[in-house]
């Protein structure tokens, strides 16, 4: 097996195995679970290198992990029985028989429970994403550090604190109760949304890593659609939103890797299968009365998946942004809304509204202003682009803005 596919297999199995082991050990021992799985992978790499790949690699991994876990468990149990004499041999045997069930069903249940555990409101959202990447997506610390444009130490500290929180808050690996699940689901969906955005708008230049982030977010949401109580309209709306965005993933990158504006995208690069997939989930999301921000964003994203540049389309997008702002204000939404206003109501109205936004520290604000004055006021366009260039945070963005400036002459 090639190195890349081996890495892929490990990444895939990591979250399953950690979830199942944590389910048996209790979430407070999640670090032991991680260690055991890492040791298993190490042993696999060494053994498979000399003896070749076993017939069923995953079964091999589960067997070794089980061995290692039971060993640890027994050794630890001995210690515990010395300290806690109440623990009878009977109970030990019971627990041993129950633990480490690597059936598809138990893997699925454990992963779903892990998803809810990590998305507990007790943990700050940045730490949640990190923890989700590590525990639910099997990313390495260096990959997480790269995604966050941070360093390993910072990420390790952040993950350590998050796990500490899981312990002190005594978070259990179980699904929330029936009447709590809808509430808790909001937080889970939000983390998945952030995870996807981290990949889609990531600061890192690593294309494979970015795509991986998006795919993992979609995989987690898909898991929620497969379970009755979490398969709600808003879950499907989030899924639709991610499909529509992901369909334009390739088109967003030019050869030079600079992020390009929607208008300049090569529509031939849009992934039609993903757009259809998005439509499928969008239809499923149109049940019930709740209109979540995911519903609105999914419809907007769908609008962007249509090539036709008609006033009617932009009018619809504008109204969706108006609604979205009432639920969820953010500078990005405000800027996008103003661009839609420009397309639907014309330049003059949009200029007035844009100037009211006063997002003076946001480079996208000045890119928008430059766009609004294009072919109207050369000096202003130049000034705004320079301003955007000085505020841009990444080299890629600076490069993109510089190209616009060069075009001006």
């Amino acid at each position: 097996m090639e190195k890349e596919s081996l890495k892929h297999l490990f990444q895939q199995e990591f979250s399953k195995m950690v979830a199942v082991i944590s389910k048996s050990f209790g979430l407070q021992h999640i670090e032991i679970a991680e260690d055991i799985v890492s040791e298993t992978f190490l042993q696999a790499t060494e053994t498979w290198e000399t003896k070749g790949l076993p017939q069923h690699p995953t079964a091999w991994l589960y067997a070794v992990a089980r061995q290692k876990t039971l060993y640890y468990f027994r050794r630890n149990k001995i210690l515990e029985t010395k300290i806690i004499p109440e623990l009878t041999i009977m109970q030990e045997k019971d627990q041993e028989a129950q633990i480490l069930n690597f059936s598809d069903e138990n893997i699925k249940d454990s992963q779903l429970q892990m998803l809810f555990a990590i998305c507990t409101p007790a943990i700050a959202s940045e730490a949640q994403i990190g923890l989700a990447l590590r525990i639910l997506c099997g990313f390495g610390i260096d990959e997480i550090a790269e995604a966050f444009l941070s360093n390993k130490e910072t990420i390790n500290k952040r993950l350590f604190r998050a796990k500490e929180k899981l312990r002190t808050e005594k978070v259990q690996l179980e699904l929330p109760s029936e009447n709590e699940i809808a509430n808790r689901l909001d937080n889970v969906l939000h983390v998945i949304y952030l995870l996807f955005s981290e990949g889609y708008y990531s600061k890192t230049q690593n294309q494979i890593l970015r795509k991986d982030l998006c795919i993992e977010a979609m995989r987690l949401a898909l898991m929620l659609t497969e379970y009755g109580r979490t398969n709600l309209p808003k879950t499907n709306a989030l899924m639709a939103l991610m499909c529509f965005h992901a369909s334009r993933f390739s088109a967003r990158q030019t050869v030079e890797n600079t992020v390009i504006l929607y208008e300049h995208q090569n529509t031939e690069l849009w992934d039609k299968a993903l757009i259809n997939q998005g439509l499928y989930f969008l239809n499923l999301s149109a049940q019930g009365n709740e209109i979540s921000s995911y519903h609105l964003e999914a419809k907007i994203a769908y609008g962007h998946c249509q090539k036709e540049d008609t006033p009617a389309k932009w009018e619809e997008i504008l109204q969706l942004y108006n609604q979205l702002l009432l639920i969820n204000y953010s500078p990005v939404v405000a800027l996008n809304r103003t661009f839609a206003l420009y397309k639907a109501n014309g330049r003059e109205v949009a200029v007035i509204e844009a100037e009211k936004l006063k997002l003076e520290n946001n480079h996208f604000y000045f890119i928008l202003l430059a766009e609004l004055y294009k072919n109207v006021d050369y000096e202003k366009v130049k000034r705004y682009l320079h301003k955007a260039h000085s505020l841009a945070k990444t080299q890629t963005e600076k490069q993109g803005i510089q190209e616009e400036l060069d075009k001006l002459g």
Binding site: E315, L318, N322, L326, Y329, A334, E353, L357, K358
Partner: protein
């Protein structure tokens, strides 16, 4: 920033002779106007719209049908915004579609 209430009043809410297209245009005007305030991050809450019917209770137990007898304009709805000053809040009220309908916007600071 402080919170202010913008109260919209119009002399007439009778849309029975208004065409579907015109209704849509009025709806769009309101949505674009409120959207503009929200885009500035200054919308605190989008108040409920008031239905047309109502009663007025006065001293001595006198009850009348609605507030429409003595005041020229009738309260239609309200929103809460945040602004640095009463002047800024008043600036936000500009462009309100109630004014186009010969109505008015009353801008009142909230206590607290």
């Amino acid at each position: 920033m402080k919170d202010f209430m913008l109260l919209f009043r119009q002399p007439n809410y009778d849309y029975t002779n208004t065409s579907r297209e015109e209704m849509q245009a009025i709806g769009k005007k309101w949505q674009d106007w409120v959207g503009g305030i929200a885009a500035q991050g200054k919308l605190v809450s989008h108040g409920p719209r008031l239905a047309l019917e109502g009663k007025v209770l006065k001293a001595g137990g006198v009850i009348t049908d609605g507030p429409f007898v003595e005041i020229r304009e009738m309260l239609g709805s309200f929103i809460l915004v945040k602004a640095d000053s009463l002047e800024d809040a008043t600036t936000l009220a500009h462009g309100c579609p109630a004014i186009d309908a010969d109505g008015s916007v009353e801008i009142r600071p909230l206590f607290g």
